[in-house]
Symmetry: C2
Subunit: 365 residues, 2 copies
């Protein structure tokens, strides 16, 4: 019996930087689930998390501290960590010959860097210079829904409100939501009365996320949050149109799954039924739009699934040509890890990724 | 020492129908807190709740089953119950000489019935024929924020997304959210994985409200929910303009406090600073808009308070003249009970409410 090898000798040496985070963990799971040709998997994180292990294809892979030298030996480097790691290591890894897919926001607006959602602008991969950016979790879902409309009739303006889950803020935000929820359940009446002292005492915060809605992020330019500025700029870059986009980003007490309410001004009229057909035909989009049968997008229905759900598709009486609809997607999948792996798959399919070093035995895996 | 009388002999005989519900209870508390001239308070509900008592000004008032005869003896009848009670009893109470303020949706679009937010269209009270409608909880908050803009520069179109709390669905929905939250906290990982079978088993519903977002209501015309159709029609009626309004109503896991994200196309440009001044000068509106000091509207900050909070006020780059902002208000107060009491206060101030029977001793109170 031969010793089972992770992906045979024909695969790639793949690194995940930030492997111990929510997105990094999802990347590792998806590399396996989607049978990405991994010859060797190398996992990296900050010194604090080094030494931990993650299972991959039946073996435990030890997490090492990120270093320029270690990344230089990889064919494909997926950055799932924060801006710091990407700023320090992305271009040196690319210079050493790796192709980098970066989930941080650091390089997304860099003119050298394609910002890619494969179903929407996979062609942009052709111009990559070693670093490819993965979009913001809301921007990814938004362009998946806007692209079919843009192609069919053209867009004039888009107004978006988001309902973003705690996991978008990382594992700490997720844990904080659960802790706050448990604490506030001790005295729900304080929430009904709006007793801010009692709420602060229980939750440890005057503005908890539990049982609340927060239109708040780090603050950016023009009265926008940084998150809003990202969604505006990234939507334009991916769709390659100078589209006015008004977006309000709001965190809600949900664990996984981002929801968007979208109002799109179209260049030409489109019936709801025609829009439904366009969405249904778009790869990666699933129409959930039969209200009378209780089918509509929710974050819980999107969680753990690949497709971006679109529903509640309707025209606005007295306001044609415009269309309103609701989008929900798993922010850890299409909003992050899945899209990054899909970029890697597209690189393989287009011949942009070639193994440089194929070790006889996968050292990390 | 004289026996303390509720409001002396100069007040009114006031009835609250649906007194045992969330909105009815808030009405009773506000009648006291705002020192409404109550000579006698009569509380009514369905047969199921009759016999319960509610405290009012230091005494317990017993809830009776609603009847035409009992309401006929009242000066002011506040309906806080569902559509059934209002449909059966509103006009007969008015015919008997009472003035009715109805929080149900039954008569809001009836041409005989003014639909009133006192700060916005108090003048409409002049044409009342005995029944005055209190608006939908979202419509009330929305027109409070839109009216200053409409008066100053005019509105062309409004796009709204709502983040509505469980209390808007009544005490049962509130309780259900708490029960679902407790159940799902037993296995948060099921939510992260999107394990719908496990979620359904724990919460008793495939589409719980806890840790979820539901763009769902009873379904109405044109692909809208009934809630959306109400907000559109009521906003137009109160503002007295034929304004295109696109609204998507969404329930979120919050106990009290509705939040709205509003994108308003204006007839003339307006800076964010000028809009801030207009909102600050509007009675019943409080500006919470200093993001760098962590001041912005949230439902928890609005809960238990009278003012409608407005913040995150900003212009949309490339999309002038338009303005985006966030509104939060206590849906049980300005969205329901407070506005109803304010209508009653306006009726008193305008001389529309006169006591017909002033008992020597307040029988119910």
């Amino acid at each position: 019996m031969p010793t089972p090898e992770p992906a045979g000798r024909s695969g790639y040496t793949v690194a995940v930087v930030g492997a111990t985070g929510l997105v990094g963990g999802e990347m590792v799971r998806l590399l396996d689930a989607r049978r990405f040709p991994v010859a060797a998997l190398r996992l990296f994180a900050t010194a604090r998390s080094a030494g931990r292990t993650l299972p991959f294809r039946g073996r435990d892979v030890t997490v090492a501290e990120t270093s320029e030298a270690a990344l230089a030996a990889c064919d494909l480097v997926l950055f799932a960590g924060g801006d710091d790691a990407s700023r320090r290591f992305a271009w040196s890894a690319a210079a050493a010959g790796a192709v980098v897919v970066d989930n941080s926001s650091t390089w997304r607006q860099d003119p050298r860097v394609p910002l890619v959602v494969p179903e929407v602008n996979g062609h942009a991969l052709a111009r990559h210079q070693g670093v490819i950016a993965n979009p913001n979790c809301c921007a990814a879902a938004l362009v998946m829904a806007l692209a079919p409309l843009q192609r069919a009739v053209g867009l004039r303006r888009v107004v978006v409100s988001t309902y973003q889950s705690a996991s978008g803020g990382g594992a700490d935000t997720l844990r904080r939501l659960l802790d706050e929820t448990r604490a506030l359940l001790q005295d729900p009446d304080a929430l009904v009365r709006g007793d801010s002292e009692r709420i602060a005492a229980l939750a440890g915060d005057r503005d908890p996320l539990a049982f609340n809605v927060r239109p708040q992020w780090r603050w950016g330019p023009d009265g926008m949050t940084e998150e809003e500025a990202k969604v505006v700029a990234e939507t334009r870059k991916i769709l390659e149109v100078d589209l006015p986009v008004s977006v309000t980003t709001v965190r809600v007490p949900v664990l996984v799954g981002h929801t968007l309410v979208v109002h799109a001004d179209l260049a030409q009229p489109l019936t709801a039924e025609a829009a439904r057909r366009l969405f249904a035909a778009a790869p990666g989009v699933a129409v959930e739009d039969a209200p009378e049968e209780d089918r509509y997008p929710t974050p819980l229905r999107a969680a753990g699934r690949d497709p971006v759900l679109v529903g509640r598709i309707r025209r606005v009486p007295g306001d044609e040509p415009a269309l309103t609809f609701v989008v929900a997607s798993d922010n850890l999948r299409k909003g992050a890890a899945l899209n990054a792996i899909q970029i890697a798959e597209a690189l393989v399919a287009r011949g942009h990724l070639r193994p440089r070093s194929t070790p006889a035995r996968a050292p990390g895996a």
